[in-house]
Every structure is written in structure tokens, then in C-alpha cells.
């Protein structure tokens, strides 16, 4: 008992006051990239050629955040002159097309389905489906349950059964071997329900795009309401998207 109390004292209070007060992530964190529309064509070409994900559109000077793995290669090859990664972690969108960007993302809260806010604003139960991928997205969703983020203070929880859920949160590129299980779990969630794609894999197939073993994005199987890009998305990216879209 004494040890329990001593540890409680030492651990202190750790829960962030976000979103009431802003959080700053470390300098090397790669969040929302911005593309310079005036950058020389040669630089844009080298960015496009260097991108391992074919996420950079040389002509439109845009990056598809649904394909980007935030490796920072384009920033390095252009020495920050064509692309710069900012520390902005608010990346969620309600529309796949919004993810193709030069650095401006529309306000997520305004693009949310307003009846979802009414239905799920005070209580949102999520059923996570891990559909291949690398388990990093799952790790950074799980972390939302730790005392620092304390997701349940917002009335949001991950639940064990799809029958108890209001929404599914899909991670991974939906492998051939998870295709049916993903759809069956979706069907088991009572309507009205929301579909959330977390991570580059679930949005486009991610690093595994081109493999015959995966599908190229959840949207090819189900109507997706909320897209949260990242490889994996930072926990704050997930938290911001959930709060903006549903609260």
C-alpha cells in the first residue's frame, strides 16, 4: 500500500490540457507539408522522382497525404526549397480529395457530417479493425488510452464488440486475407455508423501499394467518413480528428 501511494505521488498528474491549450511537437516531427508553388520545375521534378510513394504531383505542386509516408525525402532533396514539413499535426479530412494538398487543409469540423455530432458527440464507441499494416497505427491508437491523452474523458472509447460500436476505425491496407473479416465486422456494427480510415495504408495501401496481396484503400470497399493520414498518424493527429469530426 505504501509503495502504491509513493508511486502515485511520484507519477503525479500527467493528462494533457489539450485541446484547451495547444501542444508543440519537437522540431524534427514531420507534420503537414507545404509545397512552394514558385519552386523551380527542376526541383519539383526531383521531388517527384525521389518520392518512394509517388505522392508528389510535379505539375500541380501538390502532395497526396493519403499516399505520403512522411519520410521527408522531398524536403531533403529540395533542401526545403520545394517542400517543407511543418509541425502541424492536424491532418484529418472528411474528403479523400482534400488530402491532395499544397499545404492547406479545410477546417475538418465544418466538413463533418453534422448529424454525427448530434448522435455521437457525447458518446462515441469505436471498434478498431486491424487489417494488415505494420501495427504502428494500432500502437498509436492504443496510446490514446494512456493517462497523457486519456481519450475517455471526451466520452470516446474503444470497445470489444462491433455490436457495441458507433464507428469502425480501420488500419492497414486491408489484405486479401482480412478482406472478408473487415466487411463482416463493418456489417456487425448497427446503423447509423461511421467509418474512419487511419493511416496511409488504410487510405491508399501505403508502403505496400502495388502488392497483389492488398487492396488500395478502404474507400474501394466501404464509404469512408473520416480520413486520418500519417505513417502512422501521431496520437494527437488521431485525437484532433476525432474531436473535430465528432464533438
Amino acid at each position: 500500500m505504501f509503495k502504491t501511494l509513493m508511486n502515485r505521488w511520484e507519477q503525479g498528474h500527467r493528462t494533457t490540457s489539450y485541446p484547451k491549450t495547444p501542444i508543440e511537437l519537437p522540431a524534427r516531427y514531420r507534420g503537414l507539408p507545404t509545397v512552394d508553388p514558385e519552386a523551380p520545375a527542376a526541383l519539383a521534378t526531383s521531388c517527384a522522382e525521389a518520392c518512394p510513394q509517388a505522392a508528389f504531383d510535379r505539375d500541380e505542386r501538390r502532395i497526396d497525404l493519403g499516399r505520403c509516408v512522411f519520410c521527408g525525402t522531398c524536403e531533403r532533396v529540395s533542401d526545403g526549397k520545394a517542400v517543407q514539413f511543418t509541425r502541424r499535426f492536424e491532418l484529418g479530412t472528411a474528403d479523400r480529395a482534400h488530402l491532395v494538398t499544397a499545404g492547406d487543409l479545410p477546417d475538418l469540423a465544418q466538413h463533418a457530417k453534422q448529424h454525427f455530432k448530434k448522435l455521437f458527440g457525447r458518446s462515441l464507441q469505436l471498434r478498431q479493425i486491424s487489417s494488415a499494416g505494420c501495427n504502428a497505427c494500432e500502437a498509436d491508437l492504443n496510446v490514446l488510452g494512456t493517462p497523457f491523452f486519456d481519450l475517455s474523458r471526451f466520452g470516446i472509447d474503444f470497445v470489444a464488440s462491433p455490436r457495441h460500436a458507433d464507428a469502425i476505425v480501420v488500419t492497414g491496407p486491408i489484405s486479401r486475407n482480412m478482406h472478408t473479416a473487415t466487411l463482416t465486422t463493418y456489417e456487425a456494427v448497427p446503423t447509423p455508423k461511421a467509418v474512419i480510415a487511419v493511416g496511409t495504408c488504410a487510405i491508399s495501401g501505403g508502403p505496400f501499394v502495388g502488392s497483389p496481396e492488398i487492396s488500395e484503400g478502404l474507400e474501394s470497399l466501404l464509404p469512408v467518413d473520416l480520413f486520418i493520414p500519417g505513417c502512422p498518424p501521431h496520437p494527437l493527429t488521431n485525437l484532433h480528428a476525432l474531436l473535430s469530426y465528432f464533438k
Binding site: 509503495k3 502504491t4 509513493m6 508511486n7 502515485r8 511520484e10 500527467r14 519537437p26 524534427r28 516531427y29 525521389a50 518520392c51 518512394p52 509516408v69 512522411f70 519520410c71 521527408g72 525525402t73 478498431q128 479493425i129 486491424s130 487489417s131 494488415a132 499494416g133 505494420c134 501495427n135 504502428a136 497505427c137 494500432e138 500502437a139 491508437l141 492504443n142 496510446v143 488510452g145 494512456t146 493517462p147 497523457f148 474503444f158 470489444a160 464488440s161 492497414g172 491496407p173 489484405s175 486479401r176 486475407n177 482480412m178 478482406h179 472478408t180 473479416a181 465486422t185 501505403g206 508502403p207 505496400f208 502488392s211 497483389p212 496481396e213 492488398i214 505513417c231 502512422p232 496520437p235
Partner: protein, 504 residues
Amino acid sequence: MESKLRAITNGEAIRRDDIPQLSVSTFREQALALVAAGGKVVQLFGTAVVDGVLPTIAVLRLGDQLWTAATELPETYASLTAEAEPFHLFERELAEQFGVTPENHPWLRMVRYHPNYADRPDVFGNDYRVDIPGNYPYYAVAGDEIHEVAVGPVHAGVIEPGHFRFNCIGERVLNLEISLGYQHRGIEPMLPGASARRRQTLVETIAGDTSAAHSLCHAQAIEALADRSPNPPDQMVRTAALELERLANHTGDLGALSGDVAFLPPANYFGRMRGDLLNMTLWLCGNRFSRGLVVPGGVGVTLERVDFETVLGRVQELKPQLEHVIDLLFATSSVRARFDGCGRVSRSDAEHLGLVGPAGRASGLDYDVRRVFPTEHYTQLDLDACQPFGGDVYARARIRADEILASIALLEKMLPKMKRTEATDVVEHSLAPQSLVVTVNEAWRGEVSHCVLTDADGKIVRYKIKDPSFHNWNGLAMSLRDTGISDFPLNNKSFNLSYCGHDL
């Protein structure tokens, strides 16, 4: 018997001509003799079917030496597993990838459920347009009051998918069979044709919680083939990356174990501290899972002294907290009552299964790649041999706690000495033609290994990956024997294996 295998060093590129080509029967004799002497399988893989035979390479280890040899397998051959269990999953994988049948294999089933790469008739009689599990006859137990419990692929948590089939009498588990493959993304066949940058992303996402270890195996393999070696400051950063990964995951695991025996204070404290550890990696490379940190040729980011001082400060701040919460966990009688004696895997079973990492060490197999085949800065570090443990949940938890404290000590020793590193770009290297390289590292779950094979033009023709979980899933199955089914979650957490690392 004289060994016809060739000794090979961790991270050494050798000419393919120098790999001894043995007849199938000599290969079999030699491999079985090495395992009978206490050796283990590090890799056993086919390259591509040529003229009806499958060129196959084995990498084995015995004591502190790695050995290799090659053979050509016909469409059917006498199974090695029938004589020595450590070949079990490797032979199943060979059958699945290349359509070769190991005769008298005691448990010939699919590993991941995909068509073979050789366009051969399927060994298992599957039509892959039909959903997983296909033609997979599960182990069955007959008798009065025997019942089966089927769990998954989708589990009741934020966890990866897999299928567990329990044969029970009442609540007592007679046998657990684990069938995986749901996470299969087909990474291995993607790697040979991928650009260097694409390959970097792919190896980092084999298992996201093991990015540092997998990217280190990849980097060392490419460096060996390109005849480059990273400078010592880079090697120290890479060593630190591996230790930070170990620390974060072990800390998370202790929290999960505590949560599973309903002792919530350490569950929350460890969970929070795991986040702090991931944030140290975020500080170093901009990603919580070491992405872009370990690259062929060195380190992917420019790091200054101030970065190492920052991380050292954070490690030192966290150290007493970790010590105190570890003490709280193991001093709590309700925790000990659940951990002690639960899910015991005997040393002999662990030997037969070829368990690696903390799970193997918990059962008394004192094998740690960092000590036995050291690379990077580990060559200059002294690691203590681990304490013998009893192979139960307590042992698997205790060994994590010990390794957390040991990793902190290593970081405290290294970080003050670390020097500025310059970012290395991921570029195409020209690779030695007709060569083989094997790299082995101690990931937080145990031995991880990559094998890369090049052709006459120096192009990668085969990239073989082995995640430590490949060795350990059957350890989890064994721990459940004669245990209450309600102890499954606790045992599962005590192994905490990777589904995607197994399924690739």
C-alpha cells in the same frame, strides 16, 4: 563427422560460389547433425525454382558461429522437421512459397495462405480465390466433454488479427493451435524490384514496433554488399535506437501484463512512460517508431550533442520512476499470485521449439544476439548473461524488467560519449554481384535476420526476412497446455508476439 557447412560471419558478404553446394542427403545429414549438437535454424529459404528444382540456402547457428550451406530441393524431399523440430515452420514456409513437399512433415499446413511463387500445383490443395483459412484441418481432440473454442481473426481489442483454436476439457486447455496469415502483405517479393528509398520504407514497416531492428538488419546487409561501413558515431546512434525500441516495448509490455491481472496503477504508469520513451525516438528522428533513423551507410538525420544530452536527461528522469513502478509490480502479492507458475514452458520445450529473445531466455536459453554475434557498438559493450528463470509468466515479465534496467545502463554509458552525426541519404548503391549476406540482430522480441542474395549484375534477386515471432508463436501455444483458458490473455501478453512480422 566433418562439417561440410561453411562458417559465415554476421554481416559478411560472401560469393555465392563459396556457399557449399551439397546434395540433398548431405545437406540433410549436416543440418540435422548441427541441430542435434544444440544448433538452431536462423534462416532456411528457397530462391526461385529453376529447371524443376529449388535452390535452397540454410543459415544455422551453433554456439557463437553461424554456418551456411546450399542444396537443390526436388519437388518432394524427406522432411527435416520429422527429425528436428526447429525446422518446423521453415519447411512449411518453403512448401507454401515454392510448392515443395517435405515428406513426413508432422504438421504440414499453410503458414500465411497465399499462392506459391513458382506457379506449381498447391501443396495444400487450396484454391486461393476462396477465403482464408482454406484447406486447413485444425488439430482436433475427440472425447466426451471435449469442446473447441475458436477466437479471431478479429480480437476484442486494438490488436492485430489471428486465429486461435483451443481444444478444451471444461476450462482446461489441452491444445492451442494458432493459425495466422491475416496480416500477409507480400513484402518479400516486393523488395527485390524496389528502389532503395522504397525498400527503406518497406523494411521499416515489416513490423512497426520493430522498425529499428529490421531497418538495422537491412542497412547492414546493404552496407556489406556495397562494401561500406558506417562510422562509429553512427553506429552508436543505431545501437541507441535499438535500445530505445527495446525499452519502449518492454515498458509497454509490463504495463499490459499488469493490466491483465487487474492491477491498474502500473498499467497506467508504464503506459505513460512507454509514451515518453517513444517521444525520445520522436525527438531524434521525427517519428515515434524510428522511421528514417537507421539507413544504409549510417543514420538518416543530423544529430548534435544537444540531442544526446536531451535524451540522456529524459532517460535519467525516467529511470527512478521505472525502477519504482517495477518494484511496485513485483512486490504486489496479487500480481505474483497470478504470474507465478502460469504458462510454464520448460527449457527442453523451448530448445525443441527454438525460442528466441526474452521468451527463450525466460525458459533458460541464454542466447542474446548482442552478446553472441555483436555488431554496431555492441562490440564494445559488456552485456551480462541473463539469470536463469522458470519459464512462466513471472519469468517473462521479470526478464523484461531486467532488460529495461540493463538498457538504461547501456544508454547512460553511451549517450555521454556520442558525437555529432551527419545525415546520410538513402541512395542506390551498386551491390556486389553473385553474393549472399546474412545479418542478425537482437530485436526486443529476439533474433531478427535478413538474408540478401544478388545476381551476376548485382541486382537483389531474393530478400528473405525472419522476424523473431516466427520462432516464438509455438512457444505461446505450448504455454497454454494444461492451463485454464482464462489465462490465455495473460500468457499472450507475456509473449506479445508480432502478427505482421510473422505474416510479412
